[in-house]
C-alpha cells in the first residue's frame, strides 16, 4: 500500500507534553523530579546527605543502563554486575598500571563490556524466560570467580586501591562536589539516552522484540540484532557507571563489585520504579537507595543483614501490588485526579451506563 493513496491524517507534533510519565512525551512529573535532584545536588551540603545523594544518583544512572536491556528489550539480566565490574576494573587497572586517566579508561571499559554483552546475548540467543535470566546470573558469577582468582590482574580478593591523591586527570577529588557533578551528569545523560531511545525507531524495535519476536520478524525487524544492540549498549553504559563507582569509592574487590547482589539491585530498582520507562529507574533509585541506606544506618548496630530482610519484604510488597512500578502508579494517580483524566473517566462511565 502506498502512503500517498491514503486519506490525509492529522499531523503528529514533534514534541508533546504530558503530566504523568508517558512514552513519546516530555512529562512534567519527570522534569520536576529531575529538576529537584539538580537543585538538591547544588544546595545540600551535609556530608552524609551528599554521600547518600551521590549513591542514589549513581544507582539511578546504573538502573537506567540496566533498563535498556531489561526494560526496553526484555533481556532480564542478573549478571550486570559483571559489566559494572568490567568497567570499574578496566579503568582502574589502566590507571594504576599504565597511568591512563579514567576519563579515557571508562570508554575502554565500556567497549570491553559492550563486547561481553554482545557475546553473552549471542551465546544465549535461544534461551528465554528463566533460563536466560539464570544464564546471565551464571555468567556474572563466572566473571566474579575469575576476578577472584586472577590475582596478577585484579589483585584477587584483596582488591585494588586507587591512591587518594586528588588530581583532576585521575578523576580523584578532595571535595564531594566534583563527584556530585559528574554523577548527576551521568544520571541525566542516561535519562536523556533512555528518553531518546523511547522516541526513535530503534527503541520501538526493542519494544517489538520484547513483546513478540515472531511478530517483530514478520515486519522486518531482526530480533537478534535488536537484542544484541540493546545488551551491548546497556553493558557499556553500566561499565561507565562502574568507572565512576571506582573513582568515588577508590576501592574495588570482586566480592562487593561483581556480586549478584549488585545485579539484583539494578533489577529491583527498575522493577520498583517501573520497567521499560525512562522515569521508572530514577523513581526506583530515589526510593530504594535512600531507604536501604537509612535501614542500614538504623539497623547495622544490631545485626548485619537485617536491613536487607526488610528491604526484601518491601520489594515483595511493592512488586505484588504495583506491578507497573511507581512510575505506572503515578500515571494512574494523575489520570484519575487531573481534570482531563477525571473527564475521560466520566465519559467512559457514561458510555457504560448508557
Amino acid at each position: 500500500m502506498i502512503a500517498g493513496q491514503l486519506p490525509a491524517v492529522p499531523r503528529v507534533h514533534a514534541i508533546s507534553f504530558s503530566i504523568a510519565p508517558r512514552r513519546g512525551a516530555v512529562s512534567l512529573v519527570e522534569i520536576a523530579v529531575l529538576a529537584s535532584c539538580i537543585i538538591a545536588a547544588a544546595v545540600v551540603s551535609n556530608r552524609y546527605a551528599v554521600d547518600i545523594m551521590i549513591r542514589t544518583f549513581l544507582w539511578a544512572g546504573l538502573a537506567l543502563a540496566w533498563n535498556i536491556a531489561g526494560g526496553y528489550a526484555g533481556l532480564i539480566s542478573f549478571g550486570h554486575a559483571a559489566f559494572f565490574g568490567i568497567g570499574a576494573y578496566t579503568s582502574t587497572i589502566l590507571l594504576l598500571n599504565f597511568g591512563v586517566p579514567p576519563w579515557f579508561g571508562m570508554f575502554a571499559g565500556a567497549l570491553i563490556a559492550a563486547c561481553a554483552g554482545a557475546l553473552l546475548t549471542q551465546v544465549c540467543a535461544r534461551l528465554r524466560g528463566p533460563f536466560f535470566i539464570l544464564s546471565t546470573l551464571a555468567a556474572g558469577e563466572v566473571v566474579r570467580i575469575a576476578a577472584l582468582n586472577w590475582r596478577s590482574l585484579t589483585g584477587g580478593p584483596e582488591g585494588l586501591e586507587i591512591p587518594p591523591v586528588p588530581n583532576v586527570a585521575d578523576m580523584v577529588f578532595k571535595s564531594q562536589w566534583p563527584y556530585m557533578a559528574i554523577i548527576v551528569g551521568y544520571m541525566l545523560a542516561m535519562f536523556a539516552l533512555s528518553a531518546w531511545i523511547e522516541q526513535t525507531r530503534y527503541g520501538y524495535y526493542l519494544f517489538a522484540t520484547r513483546d513478540n519476536e515472531d511478530g517483530a520478524s514478520a515486519i522486518g525487524i531482526n530480533p537478534s540484532h535488536s537484542r544484541t544492540a540493546a545488551m551491548a549498549l546497556s553493558a557499556a553504559t553500566a561499565a561507565i557507571g562502574g568507572t565512576l563507582f571506582a573513582q568515588y569509592f577508590l576501592y574495588l574487590d570482586p566480592t562487593h563489585v561483581i556480586s549478584p547482589d549488585i545485579s539484583f539491585q539494578f533489577a529491583l530498582i527498575c522493577a520498583v520504579g517501573g520497567l521499560g520507562t525512562a522515569s521508572g529507574p530514577v523513581f526506583g533509585a530515589l526510593i530504594i537507595v535512600p531507604l536501604s541506606e537509612l535501614l542500614r544506618g538504623l539497623l547495622s548496630q544490631s545485626t548485619s543483614g537485617l536491613h536487607l530482610v526488610i528491604y526484601g519484604i518491601i520489594v515483595i510488597v511493592v512488586i505484588l501490588y504495583f506491578p507497573s512500578g511507581v512510575s505506572g502508579a503515578i500515571g494512574r494517580a494523575v489520570s484519575r485526579f487531573s481534570p482531563a483524566g477525571w473527564f475521560a473517566a466520566r465519559v467512559q462511565a457514561d458510555k457504560y451506563d448508557a
Binding site: 502512503a3 514478520a218 515486519i219 522486518g220
Partner: protein, 241 residues
C-alpha cells in the same frame, strides 16, 4: 511475483508439505484452502521465511528468499498475518501499527501518519490509543491485518483473518481484501470461511495432506470431486450445485 518450485518440509519422518508448486502473479488474489492439518500454516511459514524448507525453492520478485530469515523476506515486501495474533502487548494499537511503517519511514512521526491511515482503512481508527489487552478477537485480527499492511507490502499473506469476526465484519473485510490489488498489493490467503474466500479469490489452491490436489477458479475447484471428497464435504458440494 511468487514462485514455489517443488517445496517440501519434513518434521521428523513426516512431510508437513511435499512437492508444492504454484505461482502467484502480481495483482492476483490466490486462496489456499484445505482441511485442518493439511499443511497450510507450514506453507505460510515456509514462504515467509520463518521455516527453512527441506526441499525445493521459493522465489519472490525473481530472487530466492532468505530461508530462515523472515525479517529479510519482510523487508523485501512480503507481509503476513498470524493465525493466532501476535501483537506487541505492552504497546497501544497505534504503536503496533506504527512499528510496521518504521522500517520505511524512519521517524515515529512519519510512521504515525501511515499508521493512522492504515487504521482508518481497516476501520480500527477509533481504537488507536487502546491497549492491545483490551481488544476482542475480531479486533486483534484486524490489528494483525493493519500491521501487515502498514509495512506497505507487495505481497500479503493472510492467515485466517475471518475467524472470530461477526457476519457484518466479514462482509466489510471481504470488500477490503478485494480492493487490495487496486492498491498494488497481491494477496495469498488461507481461509476457513468458505463463503468469503470463494467469493473474493480469483484462484484457489487446494492442499490436502501436504500436497496440492487441485487448483483453478473457485467455481471449478468446488466441483472437483477430489476436493469435495477431501475437504469441502457434502454440504458445500450441495450448495455449489
Amino acid at each position: 511475483m511468487l514462485k514455489l518450485d517443488a517445496v517440501g518440509r519434513q518434521f521428523g519422518s513426516l512431510w508437513a508439505i511435499r512437492d508444492v508448486s504454484f505461482t502467484v502473479e502480481a495483482g492476483e488474489i490466490v486462496g489456499i484452502i484445505g482441511p485442518n492439518g493439511a499443511g497450510k500454516s507450514t506453507l505460510f511459514n515456509v514462504i515467509a521465511g520463518a521455516i527453512v524448507p527441506t526441499a525445493g525453492a521459493i522465489r519472490f520478485l525473481d530472487r530466492t528468499i532468505d530461508y530462515g530469515k523472515p525479517y529479510h523476506v519482510a523487508r523485501r515486501g512480503l507481509a503476513r498475518t498470524f493465525q493466532i495474533p501476535k501483537p506487541f502487548k505492552q504497546l497501544s494499537v497505534r504503536e503496533n501499527v506504527m512499528l510496521s511503517a518504521l522500517r520505511r519511514h524512519h521517524t515515529p512521526r512519519q510512521a504515525n501518519s501511515v499508521a493512522m491511515a492504515t487504521m482508518e482503512f481497516i476501520r480500527i481508527g477509533e481504537l488507536a490509543e487502546a491497549s492491545v489487552a483490551s481488544l476482542t478477537v475480531g479486533q486483534l485480527k484486524k490489528l494483525e491485518l493493519a500491521r501487515a499492511l502498514a509495512t506497505e507490502p507487495m505481497l500479503l499473506l493472510l492467515d485466517e483473518v475471518m475467524a472470530g469476526l461477526t457476519p457484518p465484519e466479514i462482509k466489510d473485510m471481504m470488500t477490503m481484501i478485494a480492493s487490495l490489488p487496486r492498491r498494488g498489493v497481491t494477496v495469498v490467503w488461507v481461509e476457513h470461511v468458505m463463503m468469503a474466500i470463494m467469493n473474493v479469490a480469483e484462484r484457489i489452491v487446494v492442499i490436502h495432506q501436504g500436497q496440492i490436489i487441485a487448483q483453478g477458479k473457485p467455481a471449478d475447484v468446488s466441483k472437483d470431486p477430489a476436493v469435495v471428497g477431501a475437504y469441502l464435504g457434502e454440504k458445500y458440494a450441495y450448495a455449489a450445485r
